[in-house]
């Protein structure tokens, strides 16, 4: 009969609270794994895009040409992410402001920098998505599991108090079932914590790269703006 403790039986015969804890932890584990995989792919894409774009950007291509290529890509339905979207935000703002002759070059640069900063913010927001979830799974699920275990052990000791013949066999299944909850909590928490730390550092790296790019790009825009204005002055 109950001489073999199968894992399923353990879970099935657990008390309601412990089962609830297990369900929560299972969901936490499923979601956090989903997000880990999702983030992993997203970061890989972002990295690839960034390198590809940087290479293209510094290859000496005409910037308005680069902008047009991006527009074509956008109209195909693919989403423009990462460094390219920062570039597009800055460049668009720059060209829009540069067409207004009453704006001086400082104002044009300032405007395009602001647009790029906004785009960087948006990028960071995208990168950091779901990371909070991973962090909270990592920090809370051991406690949830521990709660299930403590509850289960409490339960089985109460049963022990009621039974006349106290043997190890009367408490052992209860404790074993309770410990499953802790195991599940740790199973959910460990990958979540590891992934959170890894992804957080990658967010850091990527947003540093973006900031650097913003500075580099605004240097270029500076040059262009002054050149543009001085040409206009000459022609006037």
């Amino acid at each position: 009969m109950e001489e073999q403790l199968s894992l399923l039986e353990l879970v099935w015969n657990a008390s309601f609270t412990v089962q609830l804890v297990m369900v929560i932890l299972l969901l936490a584990s499923i979601f956090s794994w989903y997000m880990i995989a999702n983030r992993y792919l997203y970061f890989r894409n972002a990295n690839d895009e960034m390198y590809r774009f940087e290479e293209r950007f510094w290859s000496g291509i005409d910037l308005s040409q680069l902008y047009r290529e991006g527009s074509e890509k956008g109209s195909d339905g693919s989403v423009i992410l990462g460094m390219e979207s920062i570039f597009r935000a800055g460049f668009k703002e720059f060209s829009r402001l540069a067409q207004q002759p009453e704006m001086d070059s400082e104002a044009v640069i300032e405007g395009s920098r602001r647009a790029m900063r906004v785009a960087v913010m948006r990028e960071e927001e995208r990168l950091e998505r779901h990371l909070a979830f991973l962090a909270s799974v990592g920090s809370t699920s051991p406690y949830i599991g521990l709660f299930g275990t403590v509850w289960g052990i409490m339960h089985s000791f109460r049963g022990l108090a009621n039974s006349t013949q106290a043997t190890l066999a009367t408490v052992a299944p209860g404790i074993s079932e309770a410990l499953v909850a802790t195991a599940m909590g740790l199973f959910a928490a460990i990958p979540a914590v590891l992934a959170y730390n890894r992804f957080a550092s990658r967010v850091e790296v990527l947003s540093n790269r973006y900031d650097t790019f913003v500075d580099e790009f605004s240097g270029i825009l500076y040059r262009q703006a002054f050149a543009l204005r001085s040409r206009e002055k000459k022609s006037v």
């Binding site: 073999q4 199968s6 894992l7 794994w33 792919l41 956008g74 989403v79 597009r88 906004v118 785009a119």
Partner: protein, 251 residues
């Protein structure tokens, strides 16, 4: 373009692969856990039949004291299909039957008289068969002599030893009847002590069940098991199944 940049952040659709990965990881984990979990138990259970279900019949402690060849020969010729224990006198107590070691021998002997004329090959083949049947008992007797015997034989001898010890301490209630049968699962530790006795199948008579459990508890330890190599012990003796049936009762 303007809309997408300043509206709600557009996320690229990465759904299918993470979902697959998640399912895969949890599926694999569950599978590994289930199989490993069961495997450790199933191993023990699979070998349960290996001890060959000890038939705790009340018989022949007496036979052990006899010289080996002597009991074999007479039986060979006479009662080949019926292994000797059953025809034994219905005395249930082993202790009692010890006192009359000669009886089982003498009974067969008169019958043996006619057949000795039988052809020799027949005799030999039937002797082989019988030898296999009685090996349990014999093996335990000269366990020392057969230091080189195979592991199987060794565990068989320990099985018969356990059987004898248990039978010796078994006292059956008066309500025991012939068709009764109860099955116990006992758990041993390497020092030979019994750590738990569990009733797996009841005979329907609680007194009988209790007597069986008491017998095992009274035997309580089989210190000889210490000599068993631990691998053999783990394989066959960690869990044992004992079947108790009072076959030799007349009523």
């Amino acid at each position: 373009m303007t809309t997408s940049l300043y509206a709600k952040p557009v996320m690229p659709r990465i759904i299918v692969r993470p979902a697959l990965v998640t399912l895969l990881i949890h599926g694999v984990l569950l599978y590994v856990l289930m199989t490993n979990w069961d495997a450790s138990d199933r191993d023990i259970i699979r070998v349960k039949p290996a001890p060959n279900v000890i038939n705790a019949r009340l018989v022949d402690v007496s036979e052990i004291s006899k010289p080996k060849p002597a009991p074999v020969k007479p039986r060979v010729v006479t009662v080949k299909p019926k292994p000797n224990p059953k025809p034994m006198p219905p005395k249930p107590r082993v202790a009692v039957s010890k006192l009359k070691p000669e009886k089982p021998m003498q009974k067969p002997v008169p019958k043996t008289k006619p057949p000795p004329a039988k052809p020799v090959p027949n005799q030999r083949s039937s002797r082989d068969i019988l030898a296999a049947i009685v090996r349990d008992e014999l093996a335990s007797v000269d366990a020392q002599a057969q230091a080189t015997e195979t592991a199987d034989e060794m565990s068989a001898s320990f099985v018969s030893l356990i059987k004898r010890t248990v039978v010796r301490s078994w006292s059956r209630p008066p309500s025991a009847r012939n068709g009764m049968e109860c099955e116990l699962s006992i758990q041993l530790i390497p020092t030979g002590e019994v750590v738990s006795v569990k009733l797996i199948r009841s005979s329907g008579n609680s007194a009988f069940d209790r007597s069986a459990i008491n017998a095992v508890e009274k035997a309580s330890a089989f210190p000889e098991l210490r000599k068993l190599p631990s691998r053999e012990f783990e394989k066959n003796f960690r869990r044992l199944t004992l079947i108790f049936k009072p076959e030799d009762l007349r009523y």
